[in-house]
Amino acid sequence: MKARQATKIIKEIKVDINKCTGCRACEMACSAFHSKPKYSSINPARSRIRVVVDELNDEYVPIRAGDYTVAECTGRHTYAIDGKDYSECSFCGAVCPSRDFFFEPDSGLPLKCDMCETVPALDQPWCVKVCTADSLTYVEREVPRDEKPQPTRDQLEIGLEFLINEYGMEAILENLNRKSKR
């Protein structure tokens, strides 16, 4: 019998941009939850979700902070959806220098959505909880975990050689010695 494949839970927030009312309750709640101590202050500028609104063109797009990148991307797509043109940036969560979203206002450090991980766990992330318009909905999906391929002997040797060149044989041996005694 085949062993049961390992799985992991993917947490997803689905966005329906047609349902967003632009109320920014999501920003308010996210910033409250992430303040220290929790809920002690309100500041949408610290939120890990921002709603980009262009009322003249009827665009309402909530985006969550993703990974930090040092450089902005070189070109952008323009997406035409329901007769409206959206720049790729409208949907991109990257914390990039082209705009001042998702930076801590005081320190300038990048912010990232953590799906409101906390102990005990919330039933839903805060932004979803307060989005009574159902523009944001929360889904958990179980997906197979990719089996990591075992490194080959060659790879091990190349890696070791790199470390020896970088740090010197002596330092590596000393380190290995310490580790093996633990």
Binding site: C23, R24, M28, A29, Y39, S41, V52, T132, A133
Partner: protein
């Protein structure tokens, strides 16, 4: 540490080009809260009664409510106050959206503007950076488009903009200030224009601290849920049956009733117009309701409306909803109040029909009603020809035109256009609210006590059983015993008026939206905010102890201070008259008795002036001193020295 507030105001002098950040005293918050309450205190202290509204010494104050930028949901009304050239009294104006919370995050509770810029400027506020910038390139640009352009110019889509359109630039009395599809109506755009201030753009990234954060957050989530699941908010955003306004309100220049206007066939046609052109419904900051219908009509700018705002133009023009959809986007970009402007246009057309104005006053005007409304609106916003006179609103235009035009100014109180409602018998509470209110529109005064009795005792009992909002058991008794609309004693009418008003004064100082609070209670009683829970919100947010009695007293204090500002500018009993044709059946003697009884109840003398005793009870002794010094109150007995 200051909680819920920043504790700082911005003082802008446009004549000198100076900008100052000034700390505000904490006891002022405790006495007057924020929003309109704090603004009233500033206007009392700093604008002397002789100040002409168009003088550089008149102030224009934008103030955030005390609960703005806290987690409390449905708090987003920014107050704009000044002295209005239309009424020569304190102008009361509010707008929803996102401006007040953003201002607080930038580090300020209020913007206090005096002086006049030499040419068009805008104010840019980004946290500690505050600049008065040239706005001549925005001359004549529409109000929403101004917001859009500034966001692009400043390379910041998060900026919140409040701007005037052409109407404000040309000092039209009906000019509004527009922000994110919300408008500040009732006569403030004209002063922003007079100060040559095209717009204010604000962006803030600072924290607002909460005194009891976890508790307030918890309470806010419960309220958020309550607002979402209950019927409060603007039900008119979803209800396609609008027979109420069309069958009951007057058309044209507030004269003609079309009692059987509404029909199923009409409703179907209008519903298709709406849904074929509606992009979405939107909400204000941190509110789960979506009260604004965003409409894109072919060839016209996108706009949004709430409530009765979609009816005023087509009812004044005897047309259908498609006409309102056609004109509203244009009117919004010009920055025109959609309550008063249609009445001004209908008034002009009535004068033309009566021969008081002639074709010569309207050169080249189209024949049809549609074309005429657009034509006159263009004349007004440009102050061209007859438009220059009409731009001063119905009452002032009637005086300037003369020749019998005054008789056509039949729907104003204190020189302000009222809702076009013409009814049969006097409802005493409504008489008092329209006569003595100082927020100029009944929608800003009525609201907590139901408009109409329920038919059976069982229904009334069921209503009061779940009536959480009543601040006192006596109101439940009044409602249980109330059978006919006009059947209320003077005493009860006075108490109802006081409660209705108090709730609006609380909303306008906290920033709460009337649709989840003051205005909404009259329709079914099930409302999210009331005298019984707002004190907790204020206490948890600010850390200042507040209970129902203290909040009630605070509301009365602000209300009485507004009265004092206006009394000092000349308001007297003679001005407190609802439109003569508001009700068909009138009894002057009984109405005057009602008014006197109300003044007695409020502790005002019979010339509508609060007595020293009343003022002192509300910690307004300094007001009594001032009124006595000016000879408005007599020293010994608190009686008016100068009777009208």
């Amino acid at each position: 540490m200051r909680y819920a507030e920043t504790g700082f105001d911005l003082e802008i002098d446009l004549t000198r080009g100076s900008i100052e950040r000034v700390a505000s005293p904490l006891d002022m918050t405790e006495m007057y809260l924020g929003g309109q309450g704090a603004a009233a205190k500033i206007l009392w202290d700093r604008v002397s009664p002789g100040t002409d509204p168009f003088s550089p010494d008149n102030l224009l104050i934008f103030s955030a409510g005390i609960l703005h930028a806290t987690p409390v949901p449905g708090v987003n009304r920014t107050a704009v106050n000044t002295i209005s050239p239309q009424t020569n009294l304190m102008a009361h104006s509010l707008f929803g959206g996102f401006f007040g919370p953003e201002l607080k995050h930038a580090g300020y509770d209020k913007i206090i503007i005096k002086g006049k810029a030499p040419d068009l400027v805008y104010l840019y506020i980004h946290n500690d950076k505050v600049e008065i910038r040239d706005a001549t390139h925005l001359r004549g640009v529409g109000s929403t488009e101004t917001g859009d352009r500034l966001k692009k110019e400043l390379k910041d889509p998060r900026v919140q903009v409040a701007a005037i359109g052409l109407a404000g630039e040309n000092r039209v009395y009906m000019a509004s200030i527009e922000h994110n599809h919300a408008s500040a109506a009732r006569g403030v755009g004209v002063i922003m224009g007079d100060k040559r201030l095209k717009a204010i753009a604000v962006r803030g990234t600072k924290d607002i601290n909460i005194a009891h954060p976890a508790e307030l957050f918890q309470m806010s989530q419960e309220l958020h849920h309550k607002i979402d699941s209950s019927g409060c908010g603007d039900w008119m955003a979803y209800d396609e049956d609008d027979s109420f306004h069309h069958n009951h309100f007057a058309w044209g220049n507030a004269r003609t009733r079309l009692k059987n206007y509404w029909s199923k066939e009409l409703q179907d046609r209008w519903t298709s117009w709406k849904y074929d052109h509606m992009d979405r419904q939107t909400g204000c900051y941190n509110c789960p309701k979506e009260c604004r219908n965003v409409i894109k009509w072919p060839g016209k700018p996108r706009f949004a409306y709430k409530c009765y705002g979609k009816d005023t133009y087509h009812m004044a023009a005897f047309l259908e909803l498609d006409f309102s959809y056609e004109i509203l986007g244009v009117a919004q970009e010009y920055g025109l109040d959609s309550y008063s402007t249609p009445q001004v246009i209908a008034f002009a057309l009535e004068l033309l029909e009566a021969g008081i104005l002639t074709d010569k006053d309207f050169p080249g005007m189209p024949e049809d009603s549609r074309g005429r409304f657009f034509y006159i609106m263009e004349k007004i916003v440009r102050r061209e020809g007859i438009g220059d006179i009409l731009a001063d609103s119905v009452s002032h235009a009637a005086i300037r035109i003369g020749n019998g035009a005054e008789a056509y100014d039949h729907n104003t109180t204190k020189k302000f256009e009222q809702l076009p409602i013409k009814l049969g018998k006097v409802n005493p509470a409504y008489f008092l609210m329209i006569a003595t209110g100082e927020k100029m529109s009944i929608t800003q005064i009525e609201g907590s006590f139901p408009q109409d009795p329920l038919p059976t005792p069982e229904q009334r009992q069921a209503f009061v059983d779940k009536w959480e909002a009543a601040p006192d058991e006596k109101f439940k008794q009044y409602f249980l015993n109330w059978e006919k609309r006009a059947d209320i004693t003077n005493q009860v009418a006075s108490e109802i008026t006081e409660w209705n008003e108090a709730m609006h004064y609380v909303d306008d100082a906290t920033g709460l939206c009337g649709f989840v609070s003051s205005f909404r209670g009259q329709f079914g009683g099930d409302v999210a905010y009331h005298m019984n829970n707002i004190p907790d919100c204020i206490r948890l947010a600010t850390g200042i102890p507040f209970d129902k009695d203290k909040l009630w007293k605070t509301a009365q204090r602000i209300r009485t201070l507004v009265r004092a500002i206006n009394v000092r500018r000349g308001l007297r009993r003679k001005d407190e008259r609802p439109p003569e044709d508001h009700w068909a059946v009138r009894d002057e003697e009984a109405e005057q008795k009602l008014l006197s009884d109300y003044y007695d109840y409020k502790g005002w003398n019979h010339d509508a002036i609060p007595t020293r005793q009343t003022l002192e009870k509300l910690d307004l002794g300094y007001v009594a001193d001032d009124l006595e010094e000016r000879g408005i109150l007599m020293v010994e007995d608190g009686v008016s020295a100068k009777t009208a």
